[in-house]
């Protein structure tokens, strides 16, 4: 670990990618993530990497497909409308089983929406976005430090599963500055691409010709590909769920489920309520897919717990996953704000105490 530096979330994401050994970045500017591109436009040349501003987000997605298919570590960043444009390519990348990292610094929607913080892309990230039967591994940081840490985990995870990983931030995570400490460099080459990458026979220890494709016209072959993908998603659920329990030891009567920026507001609300003698627990999913299903169920099932509430910067998206996990055992409520208005801790306290 190095010295603490004060950095914007967007800049820290760019630096963390380089430290994770990713030297290929293709992107198209959009608020509130443009500082990633700004930062990497001078930083990538310094480290011998590639910075490329594409002609559109659609093109970015297929440049990622090409680079990942050739066995290179590659990533992009965008914000909500840009991710929509990339979603066709994301589906192809998932179908062709390629490792790549996407970052969505979410802004308000739908449509052009606004440029302020939002979590309105929860469904898009966790349930699809593009067509077909696929999932992304979705991570949601709550701070600049965690955004940097998750970037460094994202590449090995993408390679472990040969599946795209997406970091779901929001405008606030991208724009705010906090102290951040970077881990040392990880290894700088993707591993185990001998058996799938189309990087040229001279670069791999295998004589098998590799084909990267998502087209399977034979129904049995396509079914087989879908089964392979499904097995990966099941494995993610066993091996790579991340969540943070907060104030879960006491006899809490209310349980909050919240992630990202919103969960930080909830933490302050929980601390303030504790001073008043009111115990509230929280599960903060750090991976949104795979979702911490068992943790949410067990937290809701605790005897003292009377009600569960999903608090999100969206109009009731994660609450559907929370309801699914709680299985009717407790009433599940929702509270959220949109448009970029991040609720204050006082507002969250009112909402939780009035349950």
């Amino acid at each position: 670990m190095g010295k603490k530096v004060l950095m914007k979330g967007n800049e820290a994401i760019g630096e963390a990618a380089i430290r994770a050994g990713c030297l290929n970045y293709f992107a198209y500017p959009i608020t509130p993530q443009s500082e990633v591109a700004e930062y990497l436009s001078h930083r990538m040349p310094e480290v011998g990497g590639v910075f490329l501003q594409a002609e559109s987000e659609v093109a970015v997605a297929y440049m990622i497909y090409g680079a990942a298919g050739a066995g290179a570590r590659v990533f992009t960043t965008s914000s909500s409308p840009g991710i929509s444009l990339m979603s066709e390519g994301l589906s192809y990348i998932a179908g062709a089983q390629l490792p790549a990292v996407f970052v969505n610094i979410v802004r308000g929607g739908p449509g052009l929406g606004g440029i302020l913080p939002s979590q309105g892309d929860y469904f898009q990230a966790t349930k699809g976005g593009g067509h077909g039967d696929y999932h992304l591994l979705v991570m949601a940081p709550e701070s600049v430090q965690e955004a940097a840490d998750m970037m460094m985990r994202a590449f090995p995870l993408a390679e472990k599963y040969r599946n795209p990983v997406i970091i779901l931030g929001d405008g606030l995570i991208g724009q705010m500055m906090e102290p951040v400490e970077f881990h040392d460099h990880l290894r700088t080459d993707p591993v185990n691409n001998n058996h799938w990458a189309t990087n040229g026979m001279q670069f791999r220890n295998s004589s098998k010709p590799n084909i990267v494709k998502s087209l399977f016209l034979d129904p049995d072959e396509l079914n087989e590909n879908n089964l392979i993908l499904k097995a990966k998603y099941e494995r993610m659920k066993k091996e790579d769920i991340l969540f943070e329990p907060y104030n879960m030891d006491g006899p809490y009567q209310k349980l909050i489920v919240s992630y990202g920026t919103m969960s930080r507001v909830c933490k302050t609300a929980i601390d303030n309520l504790k001073v008043k003698g009111i115990e509230v627990g929280m599960i903060r999913p750090q991976t949104l897919f795979p979702f911490p299903e068992t943790a949410v169920f067990e937290a809701a099932a605790k005897e003292s717990c009377k009600a569960v509430i999903s608090i999100e910067l969206s109009m009731g998206q994660m609450v559907e996953d929370v309801q699914r996990c709680v299985q009717g055992l407790r009433p599940v409520h929702w509270y959220g704000e949109c448009g970029g208005n991040v609720p204050t801790p006082e507002k969250v306290m009112d909402v939780v105490t009035s349950l």
Binding site: K4, I115, P343
Partner: protein, 182 residues
């Protein structure tokens, strides 16, 4: 213990930078810090603000209803934020551009003509650092030597502005020292 400082003014007055320098100084002193800009479609002449949070423990909510202190560089900023500041907070009014009061008796209001002081130093753009010097001298929110070090780091690669801003910091400090004590 946590305090929040709101810096507010016109776009182009260096609001985001003075906030960043303060955040840097607090980080150097070992505090947890968070710097949050207004990042709407601001431009030169529009409104700009940033919030700096300084704490001795991990910072939770980046959203605060009532900040502890305010540095108001123009009148709309004072009118908008003064009613929100916690009692006993320091409110710096840039009296070169603001002809009104904070309208509250429970605040530590200091009126300093930071724009005029910067003009006397030769460059109106240093008004933000004059304000920063005065605010830190009054609030003692970070040590002044740490602040000097951080202003130096901020401008060390902008040689033409280094001595200007180091002087601006000292002039701001002097202006605050001349005021009656709380």
């Amino acid at each position: 213990m946590q305090s929040e400082v709101m810096f507010a003014g016109f776009g182009g007055q260096g609001i985001l930078m003075s906030g960043k320098v303060l955040a840097h100084a607090a980080m150097e002193e070992g505090h947890e810090v968070l710097w949050m800009p207004s990042y709407g479609p601001e431009m030169r002449g529009g409104t700009a603000y940033c919030l700096v949070m300084i704490s001795d423990r991990l910072i939770g909510s980046p959203v605060v209803r009532n900040p502890s202190h305010l540095v108001a560089m123009n009148r709309p900023s004072l009118e908008k934020f003064a009613p929100l500041i916690k009692p006993a907070g320091v409110v710096l009014i840039n009296s070169s551009l603001i002809a009104i009061d904070a309208g509250r008796e429970d605040l530590d209001v200091i009126k300093i003509p930071v724009t005029a002081i910067a003009k006397e130093l030769g460059n109106v753009r240093a008004a933000n650092i004059v304000a920063l010097g005065a605010f830190v001298e009054r609030s003692k929110i970070v040590g002044f030597d740490t602040l000097r070090h951080c202003v130096h780091e901020e401008f060390v690669n902008k040689k033409n502005f280094l001595s200007l801003n180091m002087n601006a910091l000292e002039e701001g400090k002097k202006a605050a020292e001349m005021l009656p004590k709380k």
